[in-house]
C-alpha cells in the first residue's frame, strides 16, 4: 500500500514536470511544415490556430496508437482515411504495436508519412496511467494568451470621421483554455479587430467573443458542447463548417476526414454554430443532434432583404456596424452514422430558418442563388475502406434543388504508387451555407469535374505526384457571362537526399474561361492561361539553424510575376530564445498574377499572404521563454514598395510606400 503511494508520488512528480510542455513547440518546424504543405490559396485571412493547437496537444501528449479510436486518429488531420484504416487493420491482424517505429511495417504508410506521424504518437502504457495523470493534478490546467497587433502606418479609414473606422487601430486577441480532467474542458476567445472599438453601448468589451464548454465521454454521451461548435460530416457537401482544404498536390486532400461535432475555438467569425450539440453512441450508431441560434452580418437591400452575408467579422465603419448581427439564423437537425464491418453510412439532415428573406438580385449569374427564408438540407454519405482502396462519397439535396454528388476513390496500387480519382457534380441551384467541397470554385456550386492524380514514391528520397482536373461550370458565374469549362495539370517533385536537405519543385498550368476585359459592348468569354512554377529548398545550416529558400514564377496570360524569399530560423533545443527571419523580393503586376506564400508568425497567428505589386518584405519573429509557463513572442514586419505613393485602396489605404506591423504576444499556463 505504501509502495503504491510512493510510486504514485514519483509519478506525480514526473508528470508535473512534463505537464507544461505545451509551450515547448511553438515555431515548431514540423507543424509549420505540415501547415505549409496544405498549399492553400485564399484571399481570406484564416485562423489556423485550431489546427496548430490540435497538433501541439498531440505533440506534448502523444496519441496512443494502440488505443486510439478512429475519431482520435482523424484529429491528426494529415493522415488519409486509407492510412488510418491501415493502422487499425495492422493492430487487428498483428496485435498491438510494441514500438512506434513499427509504423513502417503498416501498408500505405510510406516513410515520409511515418516521419510526419512519429512526433504525435506513442506506444504508451495502458489507459489507467492517464487516469492517474489527471486525478492527481492540481484542479485543472489553465492556458491564457493575449496578443496585441498594430499597423504602424495610419490607414485612411481613421481620418474619415463620417464613413471611416469608428475604433482604434489596435488588434487585440485574448484566448483562454481550461482543461479540468479528461472529460471537461472549455475555452473563451475574444477579439477586437483593428478599427473596431473597445467601448460601446453594447454587452461585452470585445467585438467578437466565442466560447464553449466541452464534455467528453460521459456514459452514452460521447461529446456534449454548449456554446460554439463546428459540424463536419461526410465529404462536406451537406454540412461542413470550419476550415477545409481544396486541391493541392497532396492526394490526401481528396477525401475529407469528418470529425463530426467539434468544439470551436478559432477566431474566424463566420464559420461556426452557436447553441448546443452532442454526439451519442448506441451500438453501431452515432447520433449527433444539434441546435444553433446565431446572429450573422448581412448586407441588406432597400426593402430589408439579404443580398449577401459577410464572414469577415470586421465591424469598423458605420456601414459594417449597421450590418452587424442583423440577421438571425436558427438551425437544427441531426446526423446519424451507422458503422458495419468496414462500411460507414451517414445521413445528415437539418433545417435552417432566417429572420429575413434572401434576395440575391436580378443578374443572370445570380439566378440560382438561394432565395427565401428557409432551407431544408439532407444528405447521405458513405466511406468504405476495401482492401487497398478507400471509396467515399456523398449525395446531397436541398429543398427544391437538384441532386448534388461527390464520389471518389483513393487506391494504393503498390507500396510505391497511389491513385486518386474524384468526380463531383453540383448543380447551380444547390444551396448550402455550410459546405466545403473539393472543387475548382470556392463553393463548389455550379460545377462538374473529374480529378485524377497519382503519387509515386520510388524510395525514401524521391516523391513525384501528378494530377489533372477537368471541370465545367454549367451556368454563368460572376465574371463569366456564359457556361464555361477549363482544365488543370500539375506536377510536383520532392527530393529529400538526407534529413537535412529537401528540394521541392512544382509546376501547374490551368486553363479557365473568363470575360474578356475591355471596353466592348459585348464581352466574349475567352480562355485564360495561368501557370505557376515554384522551387523550394530547405536545408540545415547547423544543428540549430535552418534555412529555406523559395523561388516562384507565375504567368497569367502574358503577365509575368515572381517572388523570391529567404527564411532563416534559429531553434536551439535547450535555449530560452528562438526566432526566424524572412527577406523577400517580389514583382507582381496585377491581382490576377498574385502569389501566395505562408507567413511565419507568432504562435497561432501563422497565415497565408497574397503578395502584390513590386517591392520587398522583411520580417522577424522571436520567442523568449521566461519559464516553462510564461512565454513571450514578438513579430516585426516591414513591406516596402517601389514606385508607389500609396498602398491599398478604400478605407485601408496607407499613404507612402511602406507598410510595417508589430505584434506582441504573451502566454501563461498554469
Amino acid at each position: 500500500m505504501i509502495f503504491k503511494r510512493i510510486v504514485a508520488a514519483i509519478l506525480v512528480l514526473l508528470i508535473s514536470s512534463t505537464v507544461n510542455t505545451y509551450a515547448q513547440s511553438d515555431l515548431d518546424p514540423e507543424i509549420n511544415q505540415i501547415i505549409e504543405s496544405l498549399d492553400r490559396n485564399s484571399d481570406v485571412e484564416l485562423d489556423y490556430s485550431e489546427l496548430i493547437d490540435r497538433l501541439m496537444v498531440y505533440k506534448s501528449h502523444p496519441l496512443n496508437l494502440n488505443s486510439a479510436s478512429v475519431d482520435e486518429l482523424k484529429n491528426l488531420w494529415f493522415l488519409t482515411p486509407l492510412q488510418i484504416n491501415s493502422i487499425r487493420s495492422h493492430i487487428q491482424e498483428n496485435g498491438p504495436f510494441l514500438d512506434a517505429l513499427e509504423l513502417q511495417a503498416v501498408p500505405n504508410l510510406d516513410i515520409q508519412s511515418v516521419k510526419l506521424l512519429l512526433p504525435f504518437v506513442s506506444v504508451g502504457s495502458p489507459k489507467p496511467f492517464n487516469d492517474l495523470n489527471f486525478k492527481k493534478l492540481v484542479l485543472g490546467h489553465h492556458d491564457f494568451l493575449i496578443r496585441y497587433e498594430q499597423l504602424l502606418q495610419k490607414q485612411v479609414g481613421y481620418s474619415d470621421s463620417e464613413s471611416g473606422f469608428t475604433g482604434t487601430p489596435q488588434h487585440i486577441v485574448v484566448r483562454y483554455r481550461y482543461q479540468y480532467n479528461q472529460h471537461l474542458s472549455g475555452a473563451l476567445n475574444l477579439e477586437k479587430d483593428p478599427g473596431e472599438t473597445l467601448f460601446r453601448n453594447r454587452v461585452g468589451l470585445f467585438d467578437f467573443g466565442s466560447g464553449h464548454l466541452f464534455l467528453k465521454d460521459y456514459g452514452i454521451f460521447k461529446k456534449i458542447v454548449i456554446g460554439d461548435y463546428d459540424l463536419q460530416f461526410g465529404q462536406g457537401l451537406t454540412l461542413w463548417s470550419g476550415l477545409a482544404f481544396g486541391k493541392s498536390a497532396l492526394l490526401t486532400s481528396i477525401a475529407k476526414s469528418a470529425v463530426g461535432l467539434k468544439p470551436y475555438s478559432s477566431l474566424n467569425e463566420g464559420l461556426f454554430f452557436r447553441g448546443i450539440a452532442s454526439t451519442l453512441v448506441w451500438k453501431n450508431f452515432q447520433i449527433t443532434p444539434f441546435y444553433s441560434n446565431r446572429k450573422l452580418d448581412a448586407s441588406l437591400s432597400a426593402n430589408g432583404e439579404v443580398t449577401s452575408i459577410s464572414t469577415s467579422g470586421l465591424h469598423r465603419t458605420p456601414t459594417e456596424l449597421s450590418n452587424r448581427r442583423n440577421l438571425n439564423q436558427v438551425m437544427f437537425g441531426a446526423a446519424i452514422q451507422y458503422s458495419m464491418k468496414s462500411l460507414t453510412l451517414g445521413i445528415t439532415s437539418y433545417y435552417t430558418q432566417f429572420s429575413r428573406r434572401f434576395d440575391p438580385g436580378l443578374d443572370p449569374y445570380n439566378q440560382f442563388d438561394f432565395q427565401g427564408q428557409q432551407l431544408t438540407s439532407i444528405g447521405l454519405n458513405y466511406q468504405y475502406p476495401f482492401r487497398n482502396s478507400y471509396i467515399f462519397g456523398e449525395f446531397a439535396k436541398g429543398s427544391g434543388d437538384d441532386l448534388a454528388s461527390v464520389n471518389g476513390i483513393i487506391s494504393s496500387l503498390s507500396p510505391k504508387l497511389s491513385v486518386a480519382l474524384l468526380y463531383r457534380a453540383i448543380p447551380a441551384n444547390y444551396s448550402s451555407f455550410y459546405n466545403s467541397v473539393f472543387a475548382e470554385s470556392s463553393t463548389g456550386v455550379n460545377e462538374r469535374g473529374f480529378y485524377s492524380g497519382i503519387s509515386l514514391k520510388p524510395n525514401s528520397k524521391w516523391e513525384w505526384s501528378v494530377y489533372t482536373d477537368v471541370f465545367q461550370f454549367p451556368w454563368l458565374k460572376y465574371g463569366v457571362d456564359a457556361p464555361s469549362r477549363g482544365h488543370e495539370l500539375a506536377v510536383k517533385l520532392n527530393y529529400k537526399p538526407s534529413k537535412h536537405v529537401e528540394l521541392i519543385g512544382q509546376y501547374r498550368i490551368k486553363y479557365k474561361e473568363e470575360n474578356e476585359t475591355g471596353e466592348n459592348t459585348f464581352n466574349d468569354v475567352i480562355e485564360t492561361k495561368h501557370q505557376r512554377f515554384r522551387l523550394d529548398l530547405a536545408y540545415d545550416i547547423t544543428k540549430d539553424i535552418r534555412a529555406r529558400n523559395r523561388y516562384e514564377l507565375v504567368k497569367y496570360q502574358t503577365e509575368n510575376a515572381h517572388l523570391v524569399y529567404q527564411d532563416i530560423s534559429y531553434q536551439p533545443l535547450q535555449s530560452r530564445f528562438s526566432g526566424n527571419v524572412r527577406f523577400a523580393v517580389f514583382n507582381i503586376p496585377s491581382y490576377d498574377s498574385r502569389i501566395y506564400a505562408f507567413q511565419n508568425d507568432v504562435l497561432f497567428s501563422n497565415s497565408i499572404l497574397a503578395y502584390q505589386n513590386q517591392g520587398m518584405q522583411f520580417y522577424v519573429n522571436a520567442r523568449y521563454r521566461f519559464t516553462r509557463a510564461l512565454n513571450l513572442w514578438l513579430h516585426y514586419e516591414i513591406q516596402s514598395y517601389a514606385n508607389r505613393e500609396s498602398i491599398g485602396s478604400g478605407t485601408t489605404q496607407i499613404a507612402g510606400n511602406k507598410r510595417s506591423e508589430v505584434k506582441l504576444q504573451l502566454r501563461y499556463q498554469f
Binding site: L413, K416, S452, L456, R485
Partner: protein, 265 residues
C-alpha cells in the same frame, strides 16, 4: 457543326498520323514508345524485337462517336532467332478522305538489353475531288533496358520527311521524334511516359498507368498535355488472346473509342 470541324481538321496542311497502335496504347495515352509486343509495330517498332511467338492482331478505332471516320488495322509479327519481321496494313478515313498504309518492319534485339528497328511504309491518300497520291517513309527506333524495372526508348517517325504531292493534292506526313520510358513500379503496376515533338506543332507529354487488378484484367488510364486529352481503357487476357478496349476524350470534341484483338500462335 462537328462534321465541319472534323473536315477542317482533316484537310489541314498536315495529313493525319493516325496509326493502328492498339487499344492498349490508347488506354495509356499513346505513351507506349517504350512498350513491347505486337502493337509496337505501329508505334516504336523496336518493341517487336522481344517477341518470341508469331502474333496476329486486329484493330478498329472509331473517331468522335457519331462521326463516320474510322480506322482499321491488321498486324503480323514473325520472330526468327534474334530478329522479328513485322507486316502491317491499315486504312483510315471515311467517304471523302481515305488513307492507307502498308508497312514492313525489321527489328533486332541484342542480348535482351538493346532493341532496334527499321521500318518502311508505303502510304496512299485519296481525297475526293483532289485526286490521290502515294509516298514512302522510313521509321527508326530503339529501346534500352536500363535495369529490371526501367526501360528507355526513342523513336523517329517519318525520318525521310515524306510528303504527298501530286496535282492538286499536297499534304505533309508528320515527322515525329519521341522519347519515353517505362517504369515497372511493382509486379502489377507500370507507369509509361513519352515526350513527343512533331515538326511544326507543340511538344506533347503523355502519361499512362496500367494496373493488373487480376491476372486476366488490366486497367489503364492516361493523360496527354497538348492537346489536353484523357484516356481510359482495360484489357482482358485469356489463353493466347488479348482483347483491349479504350476510350479517349477531348473536352470539346467528344469521345474516340477503340477495340483491338491480338493472338499469339
Amino acid at each position: 457543326m462537328r462534321l465541319i470541324l472534323l473536315l477542317v481538321v482533316l484537310f489541314s496542311y498536315q495529313a493525319n498520323s493516325q496509326t493502328a497502335q492498339g487499344a492498349r496504347s490508347l488506354g495509356l495515352a499513346n505513351s507506349t514508345v517504350a512498350a513491347q509486343g505486337i502493337w509496337s509495330l505501329n508505334d516504336n517498332q523496336a518493341g517487336l524485337a522481344n517477341i518470341k511467338r508469331i502474333s496476329l492482331a486486329l484493330d478498329y478505332q472509331k473517331f468522335l462517336i457519331g462521326q463516320p471516320v474510322a480506322m482499321n488495322g491488321m498486324l503480323l509479327a514473325i520472330p526468327y532467332k534474334n530478329q522479328v519481321f513485322g507486316l502491317t496494313f491499315s486504312t483510315y478515313g471515311f467517304e471523302v478522305y481515305r488513307s492507307q498504309k502498308m508497312g514492313l518492319a525489321y527489328a533486332r534485339n541484342f542480348g535482351a538489353k538493346l532493341f532496334t528497328a527499321l521500318t518502311f511504309y508505303y502510304h496512299s491518300l485519296a481525297i475526293s475531288q483532289y485526286g490521290n497520291s502515294g509516298t514512302y517513309s522510313v521509321d527508326a527506333g530503339f529501346q534500352y533496358q536500363l535495369n529490371p524495372t526501367v526501360r528507355i526508348a526513342s523513336h523517329i517517325g517519318n525520318l525521310s520527311n515524306s510528303t504527298f504531292q501530286k496535282d492538286n493534292l499536297f499534304a505533309n506526313l508528320p515527322l515525329k521524334i519521341q522519347f519515353g520510358a517505362l517504369y515497372q513500379t511493382s509486379e502489377l503496376v507500370s507507369l509509361s511516359m513519352m515526350l513527343e515533338e512533331t515538326l511544326a506543332k507543340n511538344a506533347q507529354l503523355n502519361l499512362g498507368l496500367e494496373y493488373h487488378i487480376a491476372p486476366i484484367l488490366a486497367l489503364r488510364g492516361g493523360v496527354s498535355s497538348s492537346p489536353f486529352r484523357q484516356y481510359a481503357g482495360f484489357g482482358l487476357a485469356k489463353a493466347d488472346f488479348k482483347l483491349d478496349l479504350a476510350l479517349a476524350s477531348q473536352q470539346v470534341l467528344g469521345y474516340t473509342s477503340q477495340i483491338s484483338l491480338a493472338y499469339d500462335f
